[in-house]
């Protein structure tokens, strides 16, 4: 059974965990302000290398064999392909203008890119390095997700305030679901039963039934001592059995831990400043968060729900991806 959607790197998860110990994991972090990518050794828990990449690097992911890293170089209007062994830029993908973030199809190809300035989603054949299609979407497309069965692609649009559902085969928009203000992240549960969409300025996460295209729950957050407007949900991750969701709350500097059965927040974890995107290590022992304003990543121990470490990276870290190599 297929298990993964958005952070597609987990497509090879089972294989990866069997073949290599967690301690060999490497995290790659895009530093938007520095035009670099930090390479973090998760055994030593420190940044071991900083690689120059294109201008304004944001979205980051890896090919399913973990051999290549893909980075959105937004201001260069391209996606750079970086060899994971040599850390050299080995190619570019025709991303369309201002690519912000992307998601790889569960089958490993194609790549769906949100072009923030042009209200389109660009579909790229990765091996051929060719644009297959451009699909018009809402104003300022942002988050991208693919359903575990590969049949549905979800794209959020920040100013239209919708989650748009695209059909994989026809590449047509089949539905637009209105969510709260400035939607950011979208993430399918592994079982495909729900897609969660964060609304940065609305301060909520909408739970959407992907079959009916309706919002079934709206999750709000309440952190003692913090004003509602500082709680701005962005990144979303589910653990492997979908029992727990993690939501990065931006300037609230916290990650909310949510019980997916009752949609209640069971804990808020204090991390770095303006927490943005997250990624699990392949064994799901750790969850890494990028913290924009404190220029570091926090390491959350998933079993104990404690923040165990912060690791310095470059300025304005945006995205993170973890390789078992």
């Amino acid at each position: 059974m297929r298990r993964r959607s958005h952070a597609w790197q987990f497509a090879g998860l089972l294989l990866a965990t069997m073949s290599s110990p967690a301690s060999a994991d490497t995290a790659y972090v895009t530093n938007e302000r520095d035009n670099t990518m930090s390479v973090v050794d998760l055994e030593q828990m420190k940044t071991v290398k900083t690689v120059s990449v294109g201008q304004r690097p944001r979205g980051i992911t890896m090919t399913s064999d973990f051999s290549k890293i893909l980075v959105c170089a937004s201001d260069d209007d391209t996606i750079q392909v970086i060899d994971a062994d040599t850390l050299r830029i080995v190619g570019n993908l025709p991303s369309g203008p201002d690519p912000e973030t992307f998601v790889l199809h569960v089958s490993g190809n194609p790549l769906y890119v949100s072009n923030e300035d042009d209200n389109i989603v660009t579909v790229i054949d990765v091996p051929a390095r060719k644009v297959i299609a451009q699909i018009p979407t809402g104003v300022e497309p942002e988050g991208m997700a693919v359903s575990p069965d590969g049949q549905t692609i979800v794209n959020t649009s920040e100013t239209t305030n919708m989650a748009h559902f695209l059909d994989y085969k026809s590449r047509k928009m089949v539905a637009g679901v209105l969510v709260d203000a400035r939607p950011r992240g979208a993430m399918f549960k592994h079982d495909g039963s729900e897609v969660w969409v964060s609304a940065e300025l609305g301060g909520t996460v909408s739970v959407i039934d992907p079959a009916q295209h309706v919002v079934t729950h709206r999750i709000s957050f309440d952190v003692q001592g913090l004003r509602a407007e500082t709680i701005q949900p962005v990144g979303i991750q589910f653990n492997r059995d979908d029992s727990t969701a993690f939501v990065a709350l931006g300037p609230a500097n916290r990650v909310a831990v949510i019980d997916t059965k009752n949609y209640k927040v069971k804990k808020y974890l204090l991390v770095g400043q303006r927490v943005w995107q997250m990624a699990f290590t392949p064994d799901q022992k750790y969850l890494l968060t990028t913290n924009r304003l404190s220029n570091d990543i926090s390491v959350i121990d998933v079993a104990s729900l404690n923040v165990v470490k912060s690791i310095q990276v470059g300025r304005l870290p945006w995205g993170v991806v973890v390789s078992p190599k």
Partner: protein
């Protein structure tokens, strides 16, 4: 007496749709459904008297404000594709001797009752009183009186008030510990009101005005070929012999003298207010919170940079678009109800949702502090606390409001 009002008709719906679709594997709602799309009509009564500025760089563009409304109409239309809604923008240019009631009737007669208004305060009140069935969006007038004793239930204030702007600057100056001010104000009635706002702000946030100066507008041209020689002699003398101060705060709404102050004052002190560090609703250098995207979109459409008035018009139009999609309706009554509802908010690249104060219909908003090149800071400043929302530390708060909406 009144000239026939020319109409400029902007209909974006289909054109934008086609433009976006060009060269793309296009897929959206079926064509049949499009044909029956509900139309949301937005009017714009727009001040077209010449606006003066000292710097050539600040010479106002012909389509100031209008370009913001056009961009928002495009943005609304993109969203509208998914909601089966389309947006129509109709501009009525307005000059000082035009009759407000005639201008309004032009719009209402064509079914436009949601109307952006950029006119001076007295005309705004005439408009608001002429037809209670319209909802006006004040995108230009900063007068506190319009939010106080002269407030109206059918006027939404998207433009920040003078007191909000003054408070925003004052908080930063106090945070900076530049709390001894010299206040230099112009001789126009607007300058007197702005000076009042700075006096109030100084008192609220613990600054002290150690001296006030008035710069009399004696008319004549602004920057001229050899004017620079005169201002070099004039401004140091104007600011000579001041008591010890940290900053010179200028209140000059008509662009008469403030922009001459920096580098020409007697004492080496920074200038703020109407020149130097300025409190603004928008600045073409603002890049935070996705601002870059909006700036790019605007420049691509208008071939120039986005001004405050453009942003205020954009925000007003987006409020209408947002209310239309939230209420899934093009009915002006439903849109009005949605906008005035407790849950309503709009995103406008300021880092948080902008909401309405239900006691005077002023849009709450962070205020940017711009040096003309970059954003120096964004108010409210840390440490200025409030029991409801920090944004209400800017401007007239509920307990002090004299507004009785009617």
């Amino acid at each position: 007496m009144t000239r026939p009002t020319p109409l400029r008709h902007e209909r974006f719906g289909r054109r934008v749709l086609i433009a976006t679709a060009a060269g793309a594997a296009f897929a959206t709602i079926p064509r049949a459904a499009r044909a029956e799309a509900d139309t949301v009509r937005v009017g714009y009564i727009r001040w077209t008297e010449p606006r003066s500025a000292i710097s050539l760089l600040d010479r106002p563009p012909q389509d100031i404000g209008l370009a913001g409304a056009k961009l928002a109409t495009r943005d609304n239309d993109t969203t509208g594709r998914f909601m089966n809604q389309q947006f129509e923008l109709l501009e009525v240019p307005f000059r000082a001797d035009d009759d407000p009631v005639t201008a309004l009737a032009t719009l209402t007669g064509n079914g436009f009752t949601l109307i952006l208004v950029d006119v001076p305060a007295d005309r705004l009140l005439t408009l608001a009183g002429a037809d209670k069935g319209v909802l006006l969006f004040n995108v230009g007038a900063p007068d506190d009186a319009l939010r106080q004793q002269a407030c109206r239930d059918n006027v939404i204030h998207v433009a920040p008030s003078r007191s909000m702007l003054a408070d925003a600057l004052a908080q930063y100056l106090v945070w900076k510990k530049w709390s001894r001010w010299v206040l230099a104000h112009g001789s126009h009635s607007e300058d007197a009101l702005l000076a009042d706002s700075y006096r109030r702000a100084a008192k609220r946030f613990g600054a002290r005005i150690v001296k006030e100066l008035e710069f009399k507008d004696t008319g004549g041209a602004r920057q001229t070929d050899s004017g620079v020689v005169q201002t070099q002699q004039q401004l140091p003398v104007f600011t000579q012999g001041l008591p010890d101060h940290d900053v010179l705060v200028a209140a000059d709404e008509n662009g008469v003298f403030a922009d001459y102050l920096p580098y020409r004052t007697w004492d080496a002190r920074p200038v703020a207010g109407s020149a130097g560090l300025r409190p603004v609703s928008w600045d073409p250098s603002s890049e935070s919170w996705g601002g870059t995207q909006l700036q790019d979109r605007f420049i691509r459409m208008a071939h120039r940079r986005m001004t405050e008035l453009d942003m205020q018009a954009w925000t007003a139009c987006r409020m209408i678009g947002e209310a239309a999609s939230r209420s899934a309706s093009a009915d002006p009554a439903k849109i009005t109800q949605e906008i005035k509802g407790a849950d309503f908010g709009v995103a406008a690249y300021k880092g948080q949702r902008l909401t309405l104060r239900d006691w005077d219909w002023q849009l709450r908003q962070p205020i940017l502090l711009s040096d003309g090149r970059n954003i120096v800071s964004v108010s409210p400043q840390p440490g200025f606390l409030h029991q409801v929302t920090q944004l209400d530390t800017l401007g007239i708060d509920r307990p002090e409001s004299r507004c009785r909406l009617r």
